[in-house]
């Protein structure tokens, strides 16, 4: 197995992981869980950006998608309530 195959298989695994996390985030009734799943999807995307050799995007994507965006959404949930009815 050469390096390119390894990179492509890791890309495929993180892409599948991101799809699963997205589905779970859409289906979750507990919005706090939905945010965690959304952050999981972002982590998979961060790995994909890194494997596609875009480390500049990785730096800003990790900070925004795993740090700032979930925290802002948690704030929103604190105002509007945790469970979807």
């Amino acid at each position: 197995m050469n390096v390119a195959d390894l990179v492509f298989s890791m890309l495929a695994i993180s892409a599948l992981l991101s799809v699963a996390a997205t589905v779970l985030a859409v289906q979750a009734k507990d919005l706090l869980k939905a945010i965690v799943f959304s952050a999981m999807q972002s982590v998979a995307y961060t790995l994909m950006y890194f494997l596609l050799m875009a480390p500049d995007i990785v730096l800003v994507y990790a900070a925004v998608a795993v740090g700032i965006y979930p925290l802002a959404l948690v704030l929103l949930i604190k105002k509007v309530g945790r469970y979807e009815v």
């Binding site: 589905v23 500049d56 990785v58 800003v60 900070a63 925290l71």
Partner: protein
């Protein structure tokens, strides 16, 4: 149950179909394995001391493209970002200057201590990303976004009052943000000002010397490549982005008491 399984199967089928179509070039040609001409042109001129009239003198091609080759585009991106921040602040225009009133205790001591340690680590990573942005992947916006995570986590774990009592206040952040923007503007036109004083030509957003304008930013500092204006742009952009993000989060994290004052009187139509 069966609905979920059918949904998962449909999703897997769709992904496999898309992947198969892409590999068979059904969605357009695949990118070639070798380098394209545009990439070769950038790689040949980004750091090339033997072609002083064409190079950006920065080893990091992405930062060189963002702040040198297409610097004016990045300036307008920055303008859009600050427009968004100003719009967010306008929503809270009644209360954004006031200090918070509700005393909060924050989370437990363990969380507070670990957050204090991690915040310093986050800020160090941000500083490294900004100051080495012309050597390694990174740059101004990335560094600003990373640095903004630290005050955001502190806001959640400690409280807004804590941050304000330690000196992180609206006016100071606004001053910091304006200094960053002023720095970006001055870096863009500094060579023109020097050119006026020396009586020679210079372009807006000029980094290294060109055929018609021989002025240039220093390309090295203490034997380390400086990338000319890129270092200054990265530094000021990081300051401005970090202060702007922190500003918005401070306002968004206002307590209910303060935020309610913003919507008072809405039922009367004013």
């Amino acid at each position: 149950m069966w609905r979920d399984i059918a949904f998962a199967l449909a999703l897997i089928l769709a992904i496999i179909a898309l992947a198969y179509a892409t590999t068979l070039r059904g969605l357009g040609p695949l990118p070639p394995d070798n380098l394209r001409n545009l990439a070769i042109a950038y790689l040949k001129t980004t750091y090339n001391p033997f072609k002083p009239l064409f190079t950006a003198m920065a080893p990091e091609a992405v930062t060189a493209i963002i702040w040198d080759y297409r610097g004016l585009d990045t300036l307008f991106e920055t303008v859009v970002f600050y427009g968004a921040i100003i719009a967010a602040l306008t929503l809270y225009r009644e209360v954004y200057k006031e200090r918070d009133v509700l005393p909060l205790r924050g989370l437990s001591l363990i969380v507070k201590r670990s957050t204090a340690v991690i915040s310093i680590a986050i800020l160090s990573v941000a500083a490294a990303t900004a100051l080495h942005g012309h050597l390694t992947p990174g740059g101004g916006f990335q560094a600003g976004a990373i640095a903004a995570v630290a005050p955001l986590v502190i806001l959640v774990v400690f409280s807004k009052i804590f941050l304000e009592s330690r000196g992180v206040q609206y006016t100071k952040l606004l001053t910091l943000r304006n200094l960053g923007l002023l720095g970006i503007g001055l870096t863009a036109i500094a060579l023109i000002l020097v050119g006026l004083a020396l009586g020679s030509n210079a372009f807006i957003f000029q980094n290294q010397a060109k055929e018609l304008a021989r002025l240039s930013y220093p390309s090295k500092a203490l034997d380390v490549p400086l990338g000319g204006s890129l270092w200054f742009f990265n530094l000021f952009e990081a300051i401005a982005v970090a202060a702007g993000f922190t500003l918005v989060f401070m306002v968004l994290m206002s307590s209910e008491e303060l935020a309610k004052r913003e919507v008072v009187g809405e039922e009367h139509g004013y």
